[in-house]
Amino acid sequence: MIKDIALALSFLSLCPAGSLLAKQEPAPPFEPTLPWLSDLGEALAASKESGKPILLEFR
């Protein structure tokens, strides 16, 4: 369960719990991550244009 939680949280990148658990293991090789928007208006426009739903994260 702890590993699951770490995965779920590290998905959210900078979440402290994810980072803390990640520190218990050797540093992983560089893995590219996806860009995230930071403006709701931009995301709504991008969703309309692409037809994709929006995944909104608050932290």
């Binding site: 949280l9 590290s10 979440c15 994810g18 860009p35 991008a46 995944l55 994260e57």
Partner: protein, 342 residues
């Protein structure tokens, strides 16, 4: 541990427009209403601001007991499926809630004026302050937020979010069984555990029953007394309610209480800090003392610990009689409660 873009979650992420908000200052918290005492929250929505689902939520046993990578994958898959249904005009959505700017909470506006970042918990504090100040605020019935479905006997599989791993109590009495998948609570559709909690949170205070719709049937469930009660010790509302207990402490586990010969269902609490010369400290209490009775009472269905018992059962200015253990000794003292420690 960080999943790369080729991992299952990474692949799912790519099918969304990804938006991360770290400052609540300009957020419509009427629309994006969630449990602001949580570590994080996710929403899946469309370009018309229709929300398909929430992901997150917390329960008393742990702030992240209901989070898992499998559960997250399922939530994202369900969000994508809901979006496809919406695009084909085949998705019924509840009407949008009234808007509420985060800055309409005075404490949030103060943070914005200082040019600082507004955190989720500060919105939670704003809501707590507003609730406590509302006319007729009843500290025994109104402080409970985001109830735990387990209180209704709905044991949810965290790797799914709406699949019942087991049922007991009110849910079992209503005929709901393990293996059923919850689809709706009252009028609210549910795709995740956070949706379930949000739906329960919306039920009016006077509600005595709720309709639970699963993949098998809709059934009326009688709401047991105290079903909304959760541990508010670490929630904004629990910190904001007065009076201040005059000490801080750690809730003892049932095992720890039994070992000390105390009622395992009681609110016994080990004192951990005073921080300042509080009335509790002035009255002789010390760190490591175990408070087990207040005015002769040792338990309450409303209080997981002595601090919450004091906040929910007394008012500023009241004098309380506290019984506590110090090692083998049993002691008693009295002191007056204040609104704040300083």
């Amino acid at each position: 541990m960080r999943p790369d873009i080729e991992s299952p979650i990474g692949k799912l992420q790519q099918r969304f427009v990804r938006l991360r908000i770290v400052n609540m200052a300009d957020v419509d918290v009427g629309l994006f209403d969630f449990d602001f005492d949580t570590t994080f929250a996710l929403f899946v929505l469309n370009s018309e601001k229709n929300i398909y689902l929430r992901y997150g939520g917390r329960v008393d046993s742990s702030a992240d007991a209901m989070l898992s990578s499998k559960g997250l994958e399922k939530a994202l898959e369900r969000g994508l499926a809901a979006h496809e249904k919406w695009k084909s005009g085949d998705l019924e959505l509840p009407p949008p809630p009234d808007p509420r700017p985060a800055q309409s909470f005075p404490n949030v506006l103060e943070v914005v004026k200082k040019n600082q970042c507004v955190h989720c918990h500060q919105v939670g504090e704003g809501k707590a302050i507003e609730l406590i100040a509302s006319p007729g605020f009843d500290k025994k019935t109104m402080p409970w937020v985001y109830p735990d479905p387990a209180k209704l006997g709905l044991e949810i599989d965290p790797d799914d979010g709406v699949l019942l791993a087991g049922t007991s109590g009110a849910a079992a009495e209503a005929g709901i069984r393990a293996g059923e998948i919850i689809k709706r609570i009252g009028e609210y559709p549910a795709l995740t555990f956070a949706d379930l909690q949000h739906a329960l949170h919306q039920l009016p205070a006077e509600a005595d029953s709720v309709t639970i719709t699963t993949d098998r049937a809709s059934r009326q469930l009688s709401l047991p007394r105290y079903w909304r009660v959760t541990d508010i010790n670490r929630r904004s509302i629990g910190h904001r309610m007065t009076p201040f207990p005059e000490f801080w402490g750690k809730t003892l586990s049932a095992g720890e209480k039994s070992k000390l010969g105390l009622d395992p269902d009681g609110f016994a609490t080990r004192v951990t800090k005073f921080w300042s010369n509080t009335h509790g400290k002035q009255a002789g209490m010390r760190e490591d003392d175990v408070v087990f009775a207040i005015n002769g009472e040792t338990m309450s269905p409303l209080a997981i610990n002595a601090m919450i018992y004091i906040r929910t059962h007394f008012e500023t200015g009241d004098e309380i009689r506290v019984r506590y253990r110090r090692g083998e000794l049993e002691k008693e003292t009295s002191f007056k409660l204040r609104a704040k420690p300083w």
